[in-house]
């Protein structure tokens, strides 16, 4: 195997994608002396979450058009280490409430992406069909609203990256993540991996 072939293969691997992602994020961060204004902070966030708030990075959520209260709550949970996300630690440390609210309001105003949601896997139509059924049975629309645009403390689910949906639904099921109450842990209790994938593919298929 030539070096290029090896590298190409390696590049396709999730591990490397993640490593490159982390490196870009780190570069974006260290390249900025200290993000002190909203504009500077948004530039740093854009390194991973996309300049327009629509993420092109694996396992990293799109933030555009998320409810401001949801974003505020999550940033505070991360700052307080109640939702530990290692990649976010340097950015949330020491952020003041009003700085968090400003960031949340900025992303809430951005336009959610309209193209196909970039994800690590292409849409599996069988999973999409299964997901459509599950979403009805699980009444996801009760809180996240019929169009899954979210409201108040409940996040927008469409559009969102498929890989990120799988990641966060799995974390809720496994008790690795809590919202501001325990509702999602109850909803995801005992849901199988295949069904988490189906939910993610269905939501990822919607525009």
């Amino acid at each position: 195997m030539s070096l290029m072939a090896f590298l190409n293969k390696w590049r396709r691997s999730q591990a490397l994608a993640l490593a490159i992602g982390a490196a870009i994020c780190a570069a974006a961060w260290t390249g900025t002396p200290a993000a002190e204004t909203l504009e500077e902070r948004v530039q740093v966030c854009g390194g991973c979450h996309g300049e327009d708030g629509n993420s092109k990075m694996e396992n990293t959520p799109s933030l555009a058009g998320q409810p401001a209260l949801f974003l505020t709550n999550q940033l505070i949970l991360m700052r307080e280490k109640l939702r530990p996300v290692e990649a976010m630690e340097p950015f949330v440390k020491g952020l003041k409430d009003d700085e968090i609210v400003a960031l949340a309001e900025h992303y809430a105003k951005l336009k959610p992406g309209s193209g196909p949601e970039p994800g690590s896997e292409s849409l599996d139509q069988a999973a999409v069909a299964r997901g459509a059924e599950l979403v009805k049975q699980m009444h996801c629309g009760s809180c996240h609203k019929a169009g899954f645009e979210g409201q108040e403390q409940m996040p927008r689910l469409v559009p969102q990256r498929i890989d990120y949906l799988v990641k966060s639904l799995t974390e809720y099921r496994d008790g690795k993540r809590y919202g501001i109450d325990t509702s999602m842990n109850g909803v995801m209790y005992q849901v199988r991996n295949a069904d988490i994938r189906a939910l993610a593919h269905y939501l990822g298929s919607l525009r």
Binding site: L69, T72, N73, I76, L77, E80, K81, L82, D97, D98, I100, V101, L134, Q137, M138, H139, S142, C143, E152, Q153, M154, R173, D174, G175, K176, Y178, I180, D181, T182, S183, M184, N185, G186, V187, Y189, Q190, V191, R192, N193, D195
Partner: protein, 427 residues
Amino acid sequence: MRSLGRTTAQLSAALGLAALALAMPLGWANAQQAQRPTSGPDANPLDTSKALMAKTKQSLNLKPHASPLTITPREKIQLDKIKVPAGFKVELWAHGIPGARMMTRGDKGTIFVGTRVIGKVYAVTDKGGERSVKTIVDGQKQPNGLAFHDGSLYVITIDKALRLEGIEDKLDSPQVTDISDKINLPESTHHNWKFAAVGPDKKLYIAIGSPCNVCEINTGLHGQIRRQNLDGSNIEIVARGVRNSVGFDWHPQTKELWFTDNGPDWVGNDGPQDELNRVAKDAEGAHYGFPYCHAQGVADRTVKRPGACVGVTMPAALMGPHAGALGLRFYTGSMFPAAYKNTAFIARRGSWNREQKFGYDVVQATMSGGKATLTPFMTGFLDTASNAFWGRPVDVQQQPDGSLLVSDEQNGAIYRVTHGSAKAATK
């Protein structure tokens, strides 16, 4: 929770569709749902299906209101909207305390404030005309339960018990001892934020909720108020069949324990109502009905047993539908008129599972012959015409001068209620 997730994943794989069916009827979300029977029309009381909506006549879009985790600016706190009886006054005593819930008072006057989601315990001190707020514990899982005894603050979270010795002299550098291995807490999350207090018998009392909306529970573990020695030894159950109590206190004269208890969700807009209960001196360990019998003898329609309400101690008062009756303390001061002495103030955080909002106030409970009657005391947080609220009282705490502190989780604020010509605390 994590190991539970793994186990259930394996189980689900093995059981295939059967397990799926178990997980699917979840709408509103309570960890208990999947533990419920999976067949029959009443398998899941939280099933947000049309059938349920028809039965309960409740909107399926009801959802808990998120309490802000951010500081509410002082100018947003609508003090002028609060109403109290003639002769009483309300002032903003402290603010900038996001998530402020249960309060307990140290011997040297520190007001300790617990929270849920934001994971912090605050210490509020009075510095000659103004208050200073310090965070003394953070990063905890819902540190709602606070008790103070003999110089130490006890913090009971969902999964831990912490002791902060000599805390009032060490607010800048608290020493936290984890005593979780001594105070045995069950492993559950839902409804398992705790209420705690040290009783007149110098024992630590902890309310342990039921890990569900309505479900069969292990009464030895959940749905109870228990007491134990401060070193954790000799656990006794004081009240059982309690759905979720987040407030109790001892009657100043009878020394009997009185506690609030929250009724179930998704059974209708009008109840079953929350309860105020009394543990009679000769009836410690009595059963208060959950999960079979709610409020004033309403049999549960999903968790059934013959004679659902037989042997169940009925409430001393009904606290209102979905009212969120939480913090309760007896008033022993002399600043308020004599009629308030030995009555209880109860904070009602306000409903979420009800279309027309209810509660969002502090009521006075007057005890007589083991029963109680309620009178409105502090209102104005809810505008019934627009069905909107701006504040949510969670706890009450009497100060040595006889004034009453009221915590407001929505605004991260503490109000002080005084009577007559009492001086304002803020210069």
